[in-house]
Structure formats: C-alpha cells, structure tokens
Symmetry: none
Subunit: 256 residues, 2 copies
Amino acid sequence: MLKAIKIVLVGTSHPGNIGGVARAMKNMGLAELCLVAPRAQFPHPEAVLRSVGATDILDNVQIYASLEAAVADCTLVAGSSARSRHLPWPLLNPRELAGRLEEELVHSEHRIALVFGREDRGLSNEELHLCHLHVHIPCNPDFSSLNLAAAVQVLSYELRMAVLASQENSSPAEELPFGTEWDVPFASGEALEHYFEHLEKTLIEIDFHDPNKPRQLMSRLRRLYMRARPDTMEVNMLRGILTATQKAAKKSSESQ
Amino acid sequence: MLKAIKIVLVGTSHPGNIGGVARAMKNMGLAELCLVAPRAQFPHPEAVLRSVGATDILDNVQIYASLEAAVADCTLVAGSSARSRHLPWPLLNPRELAGRLEEELVHSEHRIALVFGREDRGLSNEELHLCHLHVHIPCNPDFSSLNLAAAVQVLSYELRMAVLASQENSSPAEELPFGTEWDVPFASGEALEHYFEHLEKTLIEIDFHDPNKPRQLMSRLRRLYMRARPDTMEVNMLRGILTATQKAAKKSSESQ
C-alpha cells in the first residue's frame, strides 16, 4: 500500500530539509518524492548529507512547476495545514488519515499524495483548495512550527502503522466502509481540474458567475465536490450535465 | 500528564540534534530535557539554531554524568531500542507505550523518562537494563536509522495523541471534523429533497434526463450530493445555478 503514496513538497527553501524528508520517508518505507517549484537548489550536497543514505529517493525525485501537475494522477490529495482556515475544509489528524488508507486503496489505480508547504508559510489557499482534505498534526498551540522532515516523519509513521495493522488483520475480509465495494475508481486530480474548469466556464455562460466578482463561489463549489470525492463515472455525468447546459445557453444566445 | 514526562538523551554527538529534539518536544507540549554525558558541546549555537525558538527548553536542560542519576526520580523508564536484543525485554511500539500513559500516571508522584541513545550506536546493554521496557519505532528493516529528533518527534506525538484522547474521553465536547467550526448549518432533509426535485426538473428541461429512461442518473446524483452533506448556503448556491440554467434553457425554447 505504501507504494501508492507520494510525498509532495511545495516551495521548499532548505536543501537539508529535502534530505531529511527523504530519510524519514525511507525509514518508514515510502519511496516517491516530488518537489513543486523548490526554492532550494536541487540536487544539493546538503540534501545528500541529511538523507543519510536515502539517496535512491533523492535520485528519483520528480520536479514539477505546479502542485496541480504534481497531483494530476492522484485520486486523493491530502494537504498539511494549520488548524484554522477562513473557509472550513474537512480536517483530519494523521491517525484519521492513516485509518482511511485501506479503503482508499481498494482500487489498484488509486494514488495518494501528501502535500507539505513552505517552511515559513505552508501552503497557499489556492494550493489547499487542490486538496480533498487537510491534515493537521495536533501540536502545542503556542509553538506550532514543526520541522518539515518531522512533519513528514509523523505522517509516514502513521501510514506505516496502518499498513502493519492492516497486514495483521488481513485474513477474513473486513467490513467495508460502504455497503459494498465501491464500483468505480475515484477521479484523478487532473479529471477534477478539468471538471472545475468546465464548471466555471458554464457558470459564466449562464450568467451565474462573474469572474470579476468571484465572491467565494468557485472555492465553495470546489469544497463541496472535493468533499464528495466524485468517482470517474460521476465526473463524466457531471460534465455531461454541463455540456447539456452549455448547449441550452448557446441556443438561447444564438437566437437572441 | 505531559509535565510528568522527561526526555533523556544519552551521549549525543551533534549539538544540532539537541536543538532539534527541543523543538520536537516543545511542539508536542513536552518541557523537560536531560542530557547524560553529552559528547556534543553544550550549550552550543547550533542547538539554539535548530531549536527554532524552543530555547526555554534548552535553558532548563539538566546534565547528568550517568543515566542512573538522570532517571533516579522516575517511576517508569522506557528506552528506545532496535528490535532485536540478545536478552529479550518487554518491547512496545510508541502507540502501546502511549496507551499506558494514563494508568502510569494515576499517582501524581509518578514520573516517566523516555531515553534515547547515541546517534551511532544507541543505548548500551547496561543502559537498556536500567529501563523498565523498551520502545521500538516500527521501521523499514533495510533502513532503520532514524534521526534522533525524528525519533523524539514520533514518541512525543504519540504521547500527545494519548493525552488528547484521554481529555476527550473525560469531557463531552466532541472533536470537530473540520479545521474550524463549520460556519453554516447543514441543509435539512426537506431542503435537500427540494433541491433534488429542482435538479431533476432542470435536467429534463435541458434534455439531459428522460424520466422514462432514468438509467440510474438521479440515484447517482443523489448519492454524490448526500455524501458531500451540503450546508444550507451550498444548497442555495446549487439551486441558484439550477435557476440560472433554467432561465438559459427557457429563453432558448421560447425563441425556437
């Protein structure tokens, strides 16, 4: 199960932290590390030093220009976040996230991204809105700054504990969280982004949405659909509705 | 309960690790740090740097010549250990240790020490024998070297989780599932039914849905939105979109 998980670091400043993260990952059995627009130079000798031998992970790092691209193939994106945000979003602690691992990975195509933000200011709101859910490590409210590698360590530890527990329990089929096995794989990050683009375009065409006065419309819709976690068939259905809506609006505007 | 726990580092080589440990501790709400025969110079600027503000812990560090002296006031001593030892010893994982916290601390005089060994070779057998039990962080057997601060982070995290759980059990207030209190009440069953009626009507008007050939369309949409649990504001927003869609479709059909 750990093979289906990647760690994504956004805008990391210190090469040493990238090495520390690689070490924490390898220690817990994770292998795939992605960097999004790193501010640190990479590769860098300090990263190798701090990885203390996890150089295979560093050698296979993938670098992306945007978080959107990094999570395009992922069916669950969990972003590390401080507790309070302007717009409430589903928030789990690391154990609750790990507890969902098994059900998340019932389909072999499913892939999970754990996203960690900048050392100084975490993830932006736009980046957090690319996530299905947010993870918060419970910490001392008066001293909540966690080292990046330490945060990855805690999350990876919880995932490893969940995998070990699931191996122990793995004989008689356990009760699934849904009445039956979910019949269709979840939509990928890329498919969801295409849906949100299509949705925004359509809302403009039917005069419901004005991008110059966005209010929080798209954020609220995104939060709603991310919470529901549409599967691939549902996304096709939702896009079919949008296409039918556009057709209706187009006929209307053409005939005016 | 966290006040009754101290972290003991034996023979630490790198001052930076002492700072990293202080940061991890403070982050999880621990305060008391002891050094036993440190090989690193201490105090040291590198420790201050890596503590990122946990200097209060560094300022109050107590230094001992032997582990025996450091744990003299402790009622439970848990030593961090690799998995296999010549002489079998009670071995717990961090969660199992944390699960014992509450019963360990039924008496207010009880004090717990968590002992961590040298970066390069851990605790000696003599030191491990000063411990009531050994703690092992489950890790990749091919890459088991854990950074000292990372090990303290994982143990402290488990202790904090246990304390939070025990506080929750003792007060009725439930933990909130979102990053902040959800700002709007969930939609009532009635409001949702009105939404689904409105949705179906609209889908018929834009020629997406044929009630005579329903397939599973409405069931699938219902399942999707029920999963998301829309709040009242979200239902208003969704219905606003439907009304705008109907307006577009109406204009279109009137003009035909």
